[in-house]
């Protein structure tokens, strides 16, 4: 719409501009002032119409007032400024003609109506907005309450359904709320629990810090703490828990409640204790077991300077017999009784008894002065075993052997101590049992070396650490070499050359004697062939023969005859080139079964010599039965002849034996000849052959070779 300057439209606009400038500063609008002016322009036009109309249109004037409110002119100032503006300018800009008095009166009425319309609209709007915000608040409260209710319902479900016990108490310790799990754990009703106060729940097993932590928490100095805690249930049983207590603060951060969460660990704890007990105790006797004992021994040995330990290692004598004859059940009952008696022996502080297994028990004592204590302990144990034990109505006499070790802590490892005790116990046992022995380092060392040699034997044979030396056998009549005795040696990497007395008993014990003996036989027979090839057909008075020792173990070995024959055949050596030496003691009480292999060999032409004759039982009558052709007199006879003059009684005995042997068609060899006088004496007494240092020490086969050559050329 174009407005002619100074025309009615232009004047109306100028009024709207004045009006908008007056009201805009107090109007609540996000419009710009020109935009606001454009909003007011239609209202100004309507006011002009009301001013000019023939009759006064009050509703229209009211409507303009209401429209102001719709344009967000809600501040009362907007009305005041509007009325000021209308009063001053409406007639001036919008009344083109008419009675000024009448126009002024119309303007006044118009203002009253605008004000009334504004007030009514503002009241409506205010009420509507108040209603709206109240509704909104109400609705929001409903939403919040619902959410809160849902959340509380969830919490309640968590609280009630939790497997852990939950309790809430105030800071004075009054228990306010508990859940079902907690009442079940305590075996108390809800009210029963709430009747107690936190401080009532003390228990003798409470850790020292438990109540200090609690006090710190209720004073607000600590947010939470975690302890293992025991509680008494009303029935007197104990409830063990993992307890976590947290401090609850109010919105301002002041401490308000204490919240306890507890997990019932009673069963787990019992299980742990039982597992620990089972892991450390012997199921049969209930005594501490091997691992528990080692734990304690380690502790005793690790104690500082000034501490000592004492150990009794007990092995029952002949327990195997009880087990074999009465059965394992009886054996077990015997062990239980022994365990009870031992337990009663070691009741002082620092003493313990354990079962290592089988019929082996130990008693340990530790302290500053265990020397007399451990002796007394061993004596008590021996005495405890004195009274017979009644098993299945039988009175069984129980004896034991004890190895006692005593010493300062910090020197030996548990394993070393136990080995020493074990060795000592065996010493007691081999001394006849039913006694206790004190550990002796030298005896230990011997056993340990022996043990070392025993375990090294098989590898030594494989590695070829054995070799053979030969000691000539000389005919006393003509002084010629008739043969040699094969003597096995062990070139030990650490101990040097070891004689047969050091390792043959060990080899006997482990059974290694069989392969070792076979090896010696092979080597010796091969050596015999070498000799025979050299001078078997030469001018020697008799073919050279090899003497090989046969241990009792080999004697009973079923392969003896077969192996011997095989070795001889493989070497291509006649049986008469071999003499097997058997000790007299090995043949004592020998029955026909034992003698049969020897007989077979003798029939084939192998000579059998009875070695060390005169040291054992020397059952002369028995000699007839044995398939032997040679007696070897023990060196003890020759030793007695070294004195000069020789004991005539000894001479008579040797003379007698020689006569007896010859009457049985046996030749006699003497060992240990060291002097020419001896040799002459023995020759006079009728001995046939001799060996000893007088002729030659045992040596390599070449030495014999030389001797034989000398002999042959002599």
């Amino acid at each position: 719409m174009t407005a002619e300057p100074g025309g009615p439209e232009d004047r109306l606009r100028r009024f709207a501009t004045i009006w908008s400038r007056a009201v805009y500063p107090v109007a609540s609008t996000s419009s710009t002032r020109p935009e606001f002016e454009r909003e007011l322009l239609p209202l100004a036009r309507r006011l002009r119409e009301v001013l000019r109309a023939r009759g006064f249109d009050a509703p229209e004037a009211r409507a303009v007032g209401a429209a102001l409110v719709d344009a967000h002119c809600t501040d009362p100032d907007t009305l005041a400024r509007t009325l000021d503006c209308v009063d001053a300018y409406l007639v001036l800009y919008c009344a083109e003609e008419g009675d000024p008095e009448h126009l002024r009166a119309r303007s006044a009425r118009l203002q009253h109506a605008v004000a009334a319309g504004f007030a009514a609209a503002l009241r409506e709007r205010t009420l509507a907005e108040q209603e709206a915000i109240a509704q909104a608040a109400l609705k929001a409260q409903g939403v919040v309450a619902e959410a809160l209710h849902a959340s509380e319902a969830r919490f309640r479900a968590v609280f009630e359904g939790a497997a852990i016990g939950i309790g809430i108490a105030d800071l004075e310790g009054n228990i306010l709320q508990v859940n079902g799990a907690l009442t079940r754990m305590f075996g108390l009703s809800d009210t029963g629990l709430r009747a107690r106060r936190v401080r009532d729940w003390t228990h003798p097993d409470d850790a020292p810090q438990t109540w200090r932590l609690h006090d710190e928490l209720v004073r607000g100095e600590r947010e939470h703490y975690h302890v293992e805690k025991a509680f008494y249930r009303p029935d007197g049983t104990v409830l063990w828990t993992n307890l976590t207590v947290s401090l609850l603060r109010d919105a301002d951060g002041s401490p308000q409640y204490q919240l306890a969460l507890m997990e019932d660990t009673t069963e787990r704890r019992l299980l742990n204790l039982r597992l620990r007990y089972e892991a450390t105790h012997d199921a049969l006797t209930g005594l501490p077991n091997r691992s528990f004992f080692f734990e304690r021994l380690e502790k005793a040995l690790a104690a500082g300077p000034g501490h000592r330990f004492g150990l009794c290692y007990l092995d029952l004598d002949g327990f195997k017999t009880v087990n074999d004859s009465l059965g394992h059940a009886a054996g077990d009952r015997l062990l239980v009784e022994v365990a009870d008696r031992l337990q009663a022996c070691a009741t002082a502080p620092g003493e313990m008894v354990a079962r290592l297994g089988g019929d082996e028990f130990v008693a340990l004592t530790a302290g500053p002065d265990t020397g007399p204590g451990v002796d007394a302990l061993a004596t008590r144990i021996m005495n405890a075993l004195l009274a017979p034990i009644s098993v299945d109505g039988r009175e069984l006499t129980v004896r034991g052997s004890i190895g006692v070790v005593e010493g300062p802590a910090g020197e030996r490892s548990p394993a070393e101590v136990l080995r020493s005790a074990d060795i000592t116990m065996y010493r007691a046992k081999s001394a006849g049992g039913n006694r206790y022995e004190l550990a002796d380092p030298e005896a230990d060392a011997r056993v340990i070396t022996r043990h070392g040699l025993t375990t090294a034997l098989p590898a030594a044979l494989e590695r070829g650490e054995f070799f053979i030396e030969y000691q000539p056998l000389v005919h006393l009549g003509d002084g010629g070499v008739r043969g040699a005795e094969a003597l096995v040696r062990w070139l030990h990497p650490q101990h040097g050359v070891l004689g047969p007395d050091r390792f043959i008993p060990l080899a006997e014990h482990t059974g290694l004697i069989v392969p070792l003996g076979r090896w010696v036989l092979e080597q010796s027979v091969r050596q015999a062939r070498t000799w025979r090839e050299r001078y078997g057909t030469g001018g020697a008075p008799a073919p050279l023969r090899i003497n090989v020792n046969l241990s009792p173990c080999q004697l009973t070995h079923p392969g003896l005859v077969r192996d011997t024959v095989e070795i001889l055949e493989r070497a291509g050596v006649e049986p008469d080139a071999l003499c097997l030496e058997v000790t007299e003691s090995a043949l004592i009480g020998a029955d026909d079964d034992l003698l049969k292999p020897l007989r077979r060999l003798a029939e084939m032409g192998v000579d059998i010599a009875l070695d060390d004759f005169g040291t054992g039982y020397s059952n002369l009558a028995n000699l007839r039965r044995l398939p032997v052709s040679i007696l070897k007199l023990d060196r003890s006879f020759t030793q007695s002849m070294q004195r000069f003059p020789a004991d005539p009684v000894d001479l008579k005995i040797v003379e007698g034996i020689v006569a007896l042997a010859h009457s049985l068609d046996l030749t006699v060899t003497v060992e240990g000849v060291e002097t020419g006088a001896q040799a002459e004496q023995l020759r006079v007494l009728g001995c046939d052959t001799a060996q000893g240092w007088y002729y030659a020490r045992p040596g390599p086969p070449e030495r014999l070779h030389d001797l034989a050559l000398v002999d042959a050329t002599a």
Partner: protein, 270 residues
């Protein structure tokens, strides 16, 4: 015990509310006596508060129109929307671009309930009760998922809200979290209380801030530098961070001095 996220605090209408105070300053009657009392108290220190609020409202209107008309944005996320009496984002935006979609966010349950009533029947606008400090909850809310396509530009409105977030709650992280969810070409529309540019108001402004502090909604004044930091990752739209009244004014004669307290700015994501 920490109250879980799903359980809002109970509503206590005897405690003044920031959004109802705002409504009062804008001449509305969506408020209770406690709100008016607090508002009047603040006005004892800063009588021009209603003018500041109007200037804020005017800036919002200009910025929304700018976004819709100049930048062609048809999606709006207004966080801290309160209980606006007039010039609401959806009114302004939908007038410029019919079909423009608007999601309002407020953590005041009363404001949310009121907005729900106002928006009833408006298919393209909705409100969600959520907290600016938890951007992920806003972004994953049902109204946002239903109305906003985050693969296309969105105008994010943080108008007169960040000055209610204390540094301890890390408003910068929240703003960055929202930014990271926005498609390129999105806008950040922001106003913030500040004494920068209006030092004469500082002393009196402190008194007004005290009122907000008393109602547990402390008003945090930030410098222009600190306000500009909210635009990290955005390119500033001219004229940058300026006094509210100076941001693209439409009429030269707006000279209400209060229009120059408080900072405003618009940024665009690259």
């Amino acid at each position: 015990m920490e109250r879980p996220a799903w359980a809002p605090r109970s509503i206590d209408i005897t405690v003044p509310s920031v959004s109802r105070i705002y409504d009062f300053y804008l001449g509305g009657s969506h408020n209770f006596e406690v709100d008016r009392e607090a508002a009047r108290k603040a006005m004892e220190f800063l009588p021009g508060l209603p003018g500041i609020m109007r200037a804020n409202r005017a800036f919002l209107r200009r910025a929304v129109r700018y976004a819709a008309e100049e930048e062609g944005i048809a999606q709006f996320l207004d966080i801290g929307s309160g209980i606006p009496t007039f010039g609401n984002v959806h009114e302004v935006a939908q007038r410029s671009r019919p079909g423009a979609r608007v999601v309002y966010v407020d953590h005041d349950p009363v404001a949310v309930a009121h907005s729900q009533a106002v928006l009833a029947g408006n298919e393209d606008a909705d409100v969600v009760a959520a907290d600016l400090r938890k951007p992920a909850e806003i972004l994953s809310s049902a109204p946002v998922e239903r109305l906003l396509d985050l693969n296309r530009p969105v105008a994010l409105l943080l108008v007169a809200v960040l000055h209610f977030v204390e540094d301890a709650d890390d408003p910068y992280a929240a703003v960055a979290g929202l930014r990271d969810a926005l498609a390129p070409g999105s806008l950040l529309v922001l106003t913030h209380a500040s004494f920068d540019g209006a030092p004469s108001l500082a002393a009196r402004g402190d008194g007004a801030a005290g009122v907000y502090r008393d109602i547990r909604n402390p008003l945090i004044m930030r410098s222009r530098e600190d306000v500009a930091r909210f635009f990290e990752g955005y390119d500033m739209v001219e004229p940058g961070v300026v006094a509210m009244g100076r941001w693209r004014p439409e009429a030269a004669e707006d000279d209400d001095p209060y229009a120059f307290s408080g900072l405003a700015g618009v940024g665009r994501t690259a």
